[in-house]
């Protein structure tokens, strides 16, 4: 049986993979990122968000690996090379998600927890 935390991590992963495959809007992705950070996961750390996003991106790339022709051509146009394009995408996506999720978590979730603790 999975523990409660593991369920929550799983939900975050599913949300990330699904949104990154289907949303195709940066603004909406930020919204999804913020929502996942609202899940009450105790003892969350920024690097855990990074790890979750890296795993989600790994799933995305494994499920639909980019067309080599696209990697080669677009990589050449944006001067990163094909591999560089993937690395840049993974880096940018991970940093974005981590910053959004960690900010929301630390400002809202922690605030709620502190209030609850204060009430206790």
């Amino acid at each position: 049986m999975l523990k409660r935390n593991q369920y929550l991590y799983f939900i975050v992963l599913i949300a990330l993979v699904h949104s990154q495959f289907n949303v195709h809007s940066f603004g909406l992705f930020l919204l999804v990122s913020a929502i996942t950070a609202l899940l009450p996961i105790p003892r969350m750390r920024w690097w855990k968000y990074s790890l979750l996003q890296l795993i989600a991106l790994g799933f995305c790339l494994a499920l639909k690996f980019p067309d080599p022709a696209v990697l080669e051509t677009v990589g050449s146009i944006v001067k990163t090379g094909g591999f560089g394009l993937i690395v840049a995408t993974v880096l940018v996506s991970t940093i974005t998600y981590t910053l959004v999720a960690w900010t929301v978590y630390s400002w809202i979730t922690r605030f709620i927890f502190e209030k609850r603790l204060a009430n206790v």
Partner: protein, 818 residues
């Protein structure tokens, strides 16, 4: 209580305060928890700014490098079979063959237009978007300041506000055609709506914007764009500048009104004197003249070098080996990726039609139905007039004896990566005025594109024509850009008609005219009633953008036709055999003999040494890639023009008609120039030496390695010019004067499609080729799969299947789901 981590360096005073460095440390320590909370937010704000801000003209990093919107989503194969909901106009089935050519099976024209729109969007969405943005003057919004000159040019014509009005008017006249337009738009927009993100063309990713919904009035933009390609030039400005530089006598010596060796399209042309007078009955015009006419920014478009034209010919039953008429067409345009053309086969209500469409319109522009075939070449008429206005400096111009207000209007052009550009124009009786780059002169422009017209009516009629007479009636609806339509039917009739409007000035000389009387503005008018012939006695007819008639009327239509070399070569080969079949006509498409060699050869023989002439021994003007002689010839003839132009006047920007200039040099011993004369022998020798020097620099000192394939190469570039989406240069035969044309160095203009159509009593048999490929997606197998066929002279033979069988096609799209 703050945690003091640097106690050892802090000093506490008697009143308990920390001083100096320790004071700062305490402030840091006191607010550290808040800072720790704020830091992620600050980082996030900075990060999002970095990602969302447009840095110059680069795409936003958020768009390019965030996996959500990244180009990594682009599908490997966008051309998967699809089953979609039924179109509002009925169920449509589409089978797509291995070349990406769709066969559309539809119950009516509207449903066929819907499917055509869907397919055009599927394969050419970016191309359509760019065309629409170009004519609306909205290119800078996505391409940046580099596109500002284009936007500035287009905005003055106000097509974005005129075309909805034109469309509303045409909708009242022809509801059926309007329904077809709207069905086409619905098809384009259906694709945009259902398109998965992975199908968004890479160009949208790279330029960071999404496609715009298609509107019915966009149909007018394609014709206006073709007007730009085929008719727009600023020769009037350059001619006035040249006349001001050279003086009238010297100008007239090099810029004659008539070809010295006419080779007309209509050799049997006749017109009564009264009809001719009626055609050119304008009021007397005054050409602007004076010492200060200089237009350094006038559009550089050397038509002779571009050789923007086409070939078409048809042989009748008496000249055809099979006894069936055979019609051929190849349109010379810029060969680019994606191709200008898009091939389709339509089976509408059980009736077949096939040919080349252009994304942006639902019609077959060059092709055939079961009984009639058609093709076209550009008429190369002079359709741009500049009028100089007399202005008073306070917004008025002098017209018909009084000051009239110029209507000022402003356009704001959004510029990607820069500030919006506000441009001011003025409306006048003679057309819009843009003073930018006009050297403080107020010049109004009257261009054929400003005329309201609906060419869709012509093509819709051609698609349904049952014989040449009906086809002729259909093309009379064609107004711009004027074209030589070649026609044939399966009863053995053939014909040629030049349809479109002309600007017939009383004085045919090129140049800026004074716009002081309203009647000075020359209206565009039709002349097709004089320019046509059917079933000519010689059994064939052809056009290759040369002059239409050997008559004074010729100069009123244009004084700068294409050189007659292609037309003459077509005639040579037509007369070479008593009867011709498809194979012979195919060879004619691929012919690379440059007849300008017949002019240049005696010139060289007269002025070059035997040693120099030895390079041309046994050569007949064939521009093939493995010989050295074509390299020497082509380089020489271009250099000769440069040298001649410099000799006439060093500041001359307007080149004389090439062929006329060669003939002039051939005939004369001394050539008049602005400061006396120059010896022809000197000019030819100097040109030869200069050409030799250029070739040595380009190809090395070893003459035996100067094969034409090293000198003359073809560039097939993507419309954005991105090298990664373009093809590498490759050797190609032909020149700007061969039937198989290849203009410029490197060559960028050539046959953009080839059609050979034999109309048999049992149905049409065709050989077709589209230069490039059907798909605009760089990672599609059909992106440039027909380039090799174009180079090698291969065609594909479409089978006229009339019933849809899903198993017969590698891919299918069916609009059948309820």
């Amino acid at each position: 209580m703050p945690i003091l981590r640097n106690k050892q360096t802090s000093i506490q005073t008697q009143d308990g305060l920390f001083v100096s460095m320790p004071t700062i440390s305490v402030i840091r320590i006191k607010y550290l928890p808040m800072l720790r909370k704020l830091l992620p937010l600050l980082f996030l704000i900075c990060w999002l700014f970095l990602l969302m801000h447009r840095w110059g003209t680069n795409p936003r990093f958020a768009w390019l490098f965030s996996y959500t919107t990244s180009p990594l989503h682009i599908d490997k194969y966008h051309d998967q079979p699809l089953e979609l909901r039924e179109s509002p106009y009925g169920a449509v089935q589409i089978g797509i063959d291995s070349l990406g050519v769709p066969s559309i099976f539809a119950p009516n024209d509207a449903a066929a237009a819907y499917a055509t729109g869907f397919l055009h969007a599927r394969d050419r969405l970016f191309q359509m978007e760019m065309l629409m943005r170009t004519v609306k003057g909205q290119l800078s919004e996505v391409a940046g300041a580099v596109a500002l000159p284009s936007d500035r040019f287009w905005r003055k014509f106000e097509f974005d506000s005129l075309t909805p009005i034109w469309y509303a008017e045409y909708k009242i006249i022809d509801l059926e055609l309007a329904e077809r337009f709207e069905a086409y738009c619905a098809g384009v927009n259906e694709y945009i709506d259902i398109m998965h993100f992975g199908s968004l063309p890479v160009e949208f990713h790279l330029l960071d914007f999404r496609p715009t919904k298609f509107r019915p009035e966009n149909m007018f933009y394609l014709i206006r764009y073709m007007d730009l390609v085929l008719t727009y030039n600023e020769d009037d400005l350059k001619a006035t500048e040249a006349r001001s530089l050279l003086g009238t006598n010297l100008y007239d010596t090099y810029f004659s009104l008539y070809p010295s060796q006419p080779f007309p399209i209509y050799p049997d042309f006749s017109i009564s004197d009264s009809s001719y007078r009626e055609l050119i009955k304008g009021k007397p015009e005054i050409l602007a003249q004076g010492p200060n006419y200089r237009f350094p920014n006038a559009l550089e478009k050397n038509q002779d070098e571009l050789s923007l034209g086409s070939n078409n010919w048809v042989v009748g039953p008496g000249k055809s080996k099979t006894g069936n008429p055979i019609l051929c067409n190849d349109t010379h345009l810029q060969i680019a990726l994606p191709s200008t053309w898009y091939e389709v086969q339509l089976v509408v209500g059980g009736k077949l039609r096939r040919g080349m469409t252009i994304p942006g319109e639902p019609f077959i522009i060059s092709g055939y139905n079961e009984k009639v075939a058609w093709g076209m070449t550009n008429a190369t008429w002079d359709l741009v007039d500049f009028y100089e206005l007399d202005v008073d400096g306070s917004g008025n111009y002098f017209l018909d004896g009084q000051w009239q207000p110029l209507q000022k209007f402003e356009k704001t052009i959004p510029v990607r990566g820069g500030n919006p550009e506000k441009v001011t124009y003025w409306r006048s009786h003679f057309g819009p005025v843009d003073t930018t780059g006009m050297n403080n002169r107020w010049l109004a422009v009257n261009w054929i594109a400003q005329e309201k017209s609906n060419e869709g009516m012509a093509f819709a009629g051609l698609e349904k024509a049952e014989n040449v007479q009906q086809a002729y009636a259909a093309v009379l609806n064609f107004m711009q850009p004027p074209q030589n339509f070649i026609l044939a039917d399966n009863s053995g009739n053939i014909g040629l008609v030049t349809a479109g409007k002309a600007s017939l000035h009383r004085d045919p000389a090129k140049g800026i005219r004074l716009g002081v009387r309203a009647e000075n503005k020359v209206p565009f008018r039709e002349v097709h009633q004089f320019l046509n012939h059917f079933n000519p006695a010689r059994g064939w007819t052809a056009s290759a953008n040369q002059e239409h008639v050997n008559h004074s009327l010729s100069a009123h239509l244009s004084t700068r036709y294409e050189a007659s070399s292609r037309g003459r070569r077509i005639e040579q080969l037509m007369n070479a055999d008593e009867k011709l079949g498809v194979e012979e006509l195919q060879q004619l498409h691929l012919d690379v003999v440059d007849l300008e060699w017949e002019i240049i050869k005696p010139m060289l023989e007269k002025h070059l040494s035997a040693e120099q002439l030895a390079y041309f021994a046994g050569w007949n003007g064939e521009m093939v890639i493995d010989k050295v002689a074509p390299t020497l010839f082509y380089s020489f003839k271009l250099t000769l023009m440069d040298e001649l132009q410099k000799a006439i006047h060093p500041d001359l920007k307007y080149a004389p008609v090439y062929q006329e200039a060669y003939l002039f040099v051939l005939k004369k011993e001394q050539l008049p120039t602005y400061n006396g004369t120059v010896s022809t022998a000197d000019l030819v020798k100097r040109s030869w030496e200069s050409s030799w020097k250029q070739l040595t620099q380009k190809l090395g000192a070893d003459v035996t390695s100067w094969q034409y394939g090293r000198f003359h190469q073809t560039a097939v570039n993507h419309i954005t010019r991105l090298p990664q989406l373009s093809m590498p240069l490759f050797a190609s035969p032909g020149s700007n004067r061969t039937v198989n044309v290849a203009s410029k160095l490197p060559s960028t203009h050539a046959a953009s499609q080839r059609t050979i159509i034999e109309l048999t009593p049992t149905g049409p048999k065709a050989r077709l080729l589209l230069t490039g490929g059907q798909s605009g997606r760089f990672n599609s197998a059909n992106y440039h799969d027909q380039i090799d066929d174009w180079l090698n002279g291969a065609y594909h033979d479409p089978s006229p299947v009339k019933n849809f069988d899903v198993s017969a096609y590698p891919t299918s799209i069916q609009f059948t789901r309820k």
